[in-house]
């Protein structure tokens, strides 16, 4: 009898599991839907792309919002939400007309008034936006579809800033949402972009769901970087962050996920030879490692000391130590990135070639007294870990006394904001990485901002560089802008604000049936199909 009871129990348990499996199937989206499961570079926590500059929030922005302008693959400005635009002969009036047929995710039509409110909110927060707004006398919706800028001085910055590809991107929102002060986060997440954010299914930090916006009307032009038609080819995109990168690769190999935004270079051998997986580079312009000075304290308050490092460093050492595989890095002397619209090597001769003699000469001229240089070393972000020790080695080779202090990235983030003396908890230098889209011109490049207290941590202070940045903002033609960029590089050579340590590339990894990744610089999901 007991045996029989046990058997029944066992049968019941098996039946329950089988039924459960059936139920599990019922809970997933309908089988007719195409669902793309992607592992983003981090969990999405903050949803307002104007409130934070975090890249994951920027990428979220590209999912649900749209922009007035965008840069194409050649770095040219192209209209996106805008249909036509013109500048008056005196250069003081810029008029933009919106495309027909655009609606917000709640069904309301996109109006010029919405866009004006969005530009104002973004312009009060973003550095490039603030610069642009300094040229604006009035910004108005002259009718339902027309935005009019009245400028106090001619500038080429209006369309360039509105096409800004990276944080903070000027995303358009409905006026009632854009009315939220930029110091507060928006609480409604309605855009006019190609995907709709499914707030009910959002599990902060662990799952984000986007659904195709059926009413979205893509432009007719073929996609080109962030410009052109944003055609969505899947019904649903799920962002499922996996903290353990090894596990992300395992999940990709097992077919549980379709796409990993950025696969670490040291894990690439795990998928080499796997016919079910292929790689794609959505950011051909890549990223740039950057050594940042704090100019407030000796010895880096002396430009000669900073110049000494321009001669002591070489990019290959850093790139080899951190990336290792030459397929994924390149030396690039252009301050504003290789393959970017303002690439030039003007004034770069002799720099970043490890000329120790010249570097020592400059150190001597600077009167360096052996003050320990506090170099902050981030240990928990794999992509930065190996860089500071290389810098230390090269700096010690020219007789500098380096105090490399290891810490987690968030401690570094808090400490770099401190202006205290290095011996009192401040700092002299650290290394970070930027995506090329953040560095593409003198106004966008935050580390070049040399407006003293208004500048980013490191607080460089140089009138010449600021004058040139201002001139760049006033330039109205590409030729004029390029000429100024060359002058900026000359000024930077005299007054180094930071040092670029080389360009590197990350690859997205995906299942073989996933195709159509665009070279946009940010992980976007339009044009991607899953067969």
């Amino acid at each position: 009898m007991f045996k029989s009871a046990r058997r029944s129990l066992l049968k019941g348990a098996v039946a329950a599991v089988v039924m459960g499996v059936g139920l599990a199937g019922a809970a997933t989206p309908s089988s007719a839907e195409t669902v793309l499961k992607a592992v983003p570079h981090s969990g999405l926590k903050i949803l307002d792309p104007i409130w934070t500059t975090a890249y994951i929030t920027r990428n979220h922005g590209y999912m649900i919002y749209d922009t007035l302008f965008a840069l194409d693959e050649s770095g040219n400005i192209q209209p996106q939400m805008v249909d036509t635009y013109s500048t008056s002969e005196d250069g003081l009036t810029v008029t933009m007309t919106l495309r027909e047929g655009m609606t917000w995710h709640d069904g309301a039509p996109v109006t010029a008034e919405d866009c004006v409110a969005s530009i104002k909110r973004w312009g009060s927060k973003d550095a490039m936006g603030q610069k642009m707004m300094s040229f604006v006398d009035t910004l108005e919706a002259t009718d339902g579809k027309t935005i009019t800028f009245k400028l106090n001085s001619p500038t080429g910055l209006v369309t360039l800033a509105l096409a800004k590809p990276s944080s903070n991107v000027p995303f358009m929102m409905p006026a009632r949402i854009a009315a939220t002060p930029a110091s507060e986060q928006v609480s409604e997440f309605i855009g006019s972009g190609p995907f709709v954010f499914n707030k009910d299914e959002w599990e902060p930090g662990s799952k984000v769901v986007y659904e195709k916006f059926d009413e979205y009307v893509p432009r007719d032009e073929p996609p080109s970087s962030l410009a052109g038609g944003k055609v969505v080819k899947v019904d649903r995109v799920e962002w499922l962050p996996i903290r353990d990168q090894q596990q992300a690769v395992n999940a990709l190999k097992a077919g549980e996920i379709d796409y990993i935004e950025a696969i670490p270079h040291d894990l690439l051998p795990l998928i080499e030879g796997d016919d079910n997986i292929h790689l794609a580079n959505f950011n051909p312009a890549g990223n740039q490692f950057t050594f940042r000075f704090n100019v407030l304290h000796p010895p880096f308050d002396n430009a000669k000391m900073r110049q000494a490092l321009l001669y002591a460093f070489n990019q290959e050492d850093f790139l080899q130590a951190q990336i290792g595989n030459p397929d994924f890095y390149e030396e690039c002397k252009a301050l504003f990135g290789c393959g970017m619209p303002f690439e030039t090597t003007a004034h770069m001769e002799g720099l970043l070639e490890t000329n120790f003699d010249k570097a020592r000469e400059l150190v001597k001229e600077s009167g360096y007294d052996g003050t320990p240089i506090v170099l902050m070393h981030s240990t928990d972000l794999a992509v930065l870990t190996n860089l500071a020790p290389v810098a230390k080695e090269l700096m010690e080779s020219i007789g500098l006394n380096v105090d490399m202090q290891s810490m987690d990235w968030q401690t570094l983030v808090a400490r770099r904001a401190k202006k205290d003396k290095p011996e009192d908890g401040g700092w002299h230098a650290f290394i970070t990485s930027w995506t090329a889209g953040d560095l593409f011109n003198p106004v966008a490049m935050a580390f070049l901002n040399s407006s003293c207290d208004q500048a980013l941590f490191g607080w460089p202070c140089d009138e010449k560089i600021e004058g040139l940045r201002d001139a760049f903002a006033r330039a109205t033609t590409k030729e004029e802008q390029l000429k100024i960029v060359e002058e900026v590089q000359g000024a930077w050579r005299e007054y180094p604000t930071h040092i670029h340590l080389g360009q590197w590339y990350a690859s997205a990894a995906m299942r073989k049936n996933v195709n159509g990744v665009l070279p946009t610089g940010a992980a976007v999901f339009w044009n991607i199909s899953k067969d």
């Binding site: 507060e184 596990q247 208004q454 980013l456």
Partner: protein, 313 residues
């Protein structure tokens, strides 16, 4: 009994208060600035200061502490700096995976460890005993993540039987929930099986030497009955204590397992909150873990009265 219960419940108040003070001060003394993290890489000093003010982090430490404590007494754990959600809500959404993982682990552990430990005691000195104790040493020595990776390699990548990672809520199907929890529970159970099997063996061995066991055998009871009814039952108090404490350890200690298997539970939330210096979330989670410890200890003490009628409070 009722007065004992009341005394124990009252005793939790100073314990929780001390935990609250400790965790509050510890977090404020840890380097890192949530405002700078939230603001992102491009933010200037003014933007960071503005966020700091919004979060109330510019207030003196005492003001912040008493404000936080006052709110807790009203059941308000505050709003997460990052998720912009009430911390209570955030924790509620993360409890299910952690509780599921802990429960399944403890069930697996008990199902495996107690019979193994009893068998090892019964066959003391035999090869069976040595193998079980050898396994126990191995279980203690291997880190959970190593066991996890090994299990994933075998069952997910090579055999393709079980998913690599992820969690499915029980409301979305029991089968999917069970299958996704199996590997993490197994990985986590190994160390607890090793621990509890050893504990069970020791307790049962002690009891097997007692006079009443000899009496039971003399009365002609079968060995199975002697073991199950007399030995194991009398050895239960220390075993239940260890199982109870293991459960408490599991609830607060599943961080690595949740990270490896991407289970969106309290462990993963804790890691994310610590890395982001999300003070309200960390404080609430640690308080919760402490409360779980206190409650489980109380339940263990109360269970003694059931297991051993001689114990009365």
């Amino acid at each position: 009994m009722a007065s004992y219960l009341l005394r124990r419940i009252l005793a939790t108040i100073p314990v929780m208060l001390l935990v609250a003070i400790f965790i509050f001060l510890l977090l404020r003394l840890t380097p890192g600035d949530p405002a700078a993290i939230i603001a992102g890489d491009y933010a200037n000093d003014a933007q960071i200061a503005e966020i700091r003010e919004k979060l109330g982090l510019d207030e003196p430490l005492f003001t912040q502490f008493f404000y936080w404590l006052g709110n807790i007494f009203q059941g308000d754990f505050g709003e997460s700096f990052f998720y912009k959600k009430q911390v209570g809500e955030l924790i509620a959404s993360r409890i299910e995976p952690t509780l599921s993982l802990s429960l399944m682990t403890i069930v697996l552990t008990v199902m495996i460890a107690v019979p193994l430990g009893t068998l090892a005691a019964y066959r003391q000195g035999s090869w069976t005993d040595r193998i079980i104790m050898g396994f126990s040493v191995l279980g203690f020595s291997l880190p959970v993540f190593v066991i996890g990776y090994a299990l994933i390699w075998l069952f997910s990548l090579e055999l393709g039987w079980l998913p690599v990672q992820g969690y499915q809520r029980i409301s979305d199907g029991v089968g999917g929930w069970f299958i996704r929890l199996l590997l993490p529970s197994l990985a986590l159970a190994v160390v607890f099986v090793a621990f509890i099997a050893r504990m069970t063996r020791t307790s049962v061995l002690e009891v097997l030497g007692e006079d009443y066991i000899r009496t039971a055998r003399a009365k002609g009871q079968t060995e199975r009955k002697v073991l199950m009814r007399h030995a194991l039952r009398n050895a239960a108090v220390p075993i239940v204590t260890v199982i109870g404490l293991s459960f408490a350890i599991l609830i607060g200690g599943v961080v690595v397992t949740e990270s490896v298997f991407t289970l969106p539970g309290l462990g993963l939330l804790t890691v994310e909150a610590v890395l982001a210096r999300d003070y309200p979330t960390i404080q609430a989670v640690i308080l919760l873990f402490s409360l779980v410890y206190v409650v489980i200890n109380l339940l263990i003490d109360l269970s003694y009265t059931v297991l051993d009628p001689r114990i009365r409070y």
